[in-house]
Symmetry: C2
Subunit: 247 residues, 2 copies
C-alpha cells in the first residue's frame, strides 16, 4: 500500500503542480459517472439506506446546546431543504466504487483507515460533529463539540482541531456544492478560544465557483452568536471522482 | 471544570476582542516568573529530568527517513545548538505551575486531557512527530509522519491533520522564541498530498517579532526537498505565562 501511495502521490503532485497552468488540468466531464448535478452528488454521499455506521448521530456526550440545535436542524430537513450528512469512519466508505483523479482507486487492506475527524471513537473524548447541507443555497452548518483529547490551551480546543474541523466540513460542502475535491488554501483568523465540551457552530457558505475553483467562507461562533471563535476562508479545486469500472 | 472553562473563555475572549486595540492589551512584564529570555523558556519546556513520558522518541512505527533524520538532528543537538523538544501527553504537563493570562490556572481533574496532536496513543496510527528548535536562529524543524487515523483522501494525510501539526509546531516555536502564546492567524497553501506513513519535514522560521506579535513561516516538504507539500504562515500573540503562586 505504501509503495502504491507514493506512486499516486507523485501523480497527484504532478496534477497539483500543473494547477498553475490551467490548460493542463484534466477537463471536467459533464457526463461523469454519477452526473455532476448537486442532487446526484447528494444522493451518493447521503445514502438513506446503508449498513455503515453513521457517527453524526446524538450520543450521551452531546451538550444540551448541541442536542437542541441538532433537533432544530433535523426539523429543517423535513421542510426547508436542509440535508443531514452522514459521517462514516473513513472517506473510503463515502467514495466506495469511485477513484480519485489520475488513477488512484480505493482498495481495501488490513489497515484501520480512519478519516482524521473520526480518529477517536470514544464518545465525547474527541470530535463530535454533524454537518447539515443546503443544496440550493450551497451552504452548510456544522455543529462541533470538541472533547478533552482535542485540547490546546488548558480547557480549550486546540486551534489545529478547529482548523481540521473546518477543512473537513469545507471539503464535504465543496464536494456536494460542485465536486470540489482538494483543498488549495485555508486561511483562518482565530478570535476566541472554544471551551472543551461546548458547542461551536460553523456557518459555511460557498461564495462562488469560478475557473474550476470553489471559494468558501465560514464564521465559527457560539450558538447565541455572541462569541465569534474564528473567521476563515478556503479555496477548493474541482476534480471529478470517476466510477471505478469505467476505466 | 466546564463552568470554569466558560468563565475563562469569556475573559480570554475579552482579551482577544481587545487585541484590535493594542493599548488595552496586558503589558508584558519583563520580570516574568521564569524570565523572558529564550534560555529560560527552553530550560522550562525542555526539561532534562522529568518523570513525564516523552512521546517524541523513536518507536517501531517510524519509517527509515524519519529515523535517520531524527538521528541526524540528534547529532546536531551535541554541537550545532539545536535542542530536541520533549512532547508530553498534555500541554498541562508542559506548563505545570503556570497559569494562562487573565487568571486561568491549570487544575487537575478526572478528565483524560490530551494535547490534540497526542490524542492517539497507539504507535504509528496517529501523529508521530518530533520538533527540534534552534534558540539563536529562532527556527524549528518538525519531523511528521501521519498514520492511517489521519487520513483524508484515501492513502493520504488529511489536510486538517497537517494544519493541526503546523499550529502545534508553530505554537511551541513561538513560545520558545518569544512567548508567543495564542494563534491569531494561520494561512496554508497546500501543494501536494502527504502519503500516510511517510515523512514530511516542516521547516519553520520566525520571520520577525513586532508589536507583540510573532510572525512565522513554514515550508513543508519531503526529505529530499523535491516535493513541497505546503507553504504556510502564522501570527502568534505574545502573552506571558505567570507562576501560579505569584498571584
Amino acid at each position: 500500500m505504501m509503495r502504491r501511495s507514493f506512486q499516486v502521490a507523485a501523480r497527484l503532485g504532478h496534477c497539483r503542480t500543473l494547477l498553475g497552468a490551467p490548460c493542463t488540468l484534466p477537463r471536467l466531464n459533464p457526463a461523469s459517472a454519477f452526473g455532476s448535478s448537486t442532487d446526484a452528488l447528494v444522493s451518493r454521499f447521503c445514502k438513506k439506506k446503508t449498513d455503515l455506521k453513521d457517527y453524526a448521530l446524538p450520543n450521551a456526550s452531546w451538550c444540551p446546546d448541541m442536542l437542541s440545535m441538532y433537533q432544530e436542524f433535523l426539523e429543517k430537513t423535513k421542510a426547508s431543504g436542509w440535508i443531514k450528512m452522514p459521517s462514516f469512519k473513513s472517506n473510503r466508505e463515502h467514495i466506495q466504487g469511485l477513484k480519485l483523479p489520475l488513477g488512484s482507486a480505493v482498495t481495501s487492506d488490513e489497515n484501520d483507515w480512519r478519516i482524521f475527524t473520526r480518529c477517536i471513537q470514544v464518545e465525547g473524548q474527541g470530535y463530535e460533529y454533524v454537518i447539515f447541507f443546503h443544496p440550493s443555497q450551497k451552504k452548510s452548518v456544522c455543529l462541533f463539540q470538541p472533547g478533552p483529547y482535542l485540547e490546546g490551551a488548558p480547557g480549550f480546543a486546540h486551534g489545529g482541531s478547529l482548523a481540521a474541523m473546518m477543512d473537513e466540513a469545507f471539503s464535504k460542502t465543496a464536494y456536494l456544492a460542485g465536486e470540489g475535491l482538494l483543498t488549495q488554501s485555508l486561511n483562518i483568523r482565530f478570535k476566541n478560544l472554544i471551551p472543551v465540551g461546548s458547542l461551536a457552530v460553523l456557518n459555511i457558505e460557498v461564495e462562488k465557483i469560478e475557473d474550476r475553483k470553489i471559494y468558501i467562507s465560514c464564521v465559527t461562533q457560539s450558538r447565541d452568536q455572541q462569541t465569534v471563535y474564528a473567521k476563515s476562508s478556503a479555496v477548493f479545486l474541482q476534480l471529478q471522482l470517476e466510477e471505478e469500472s469505467s476505466q
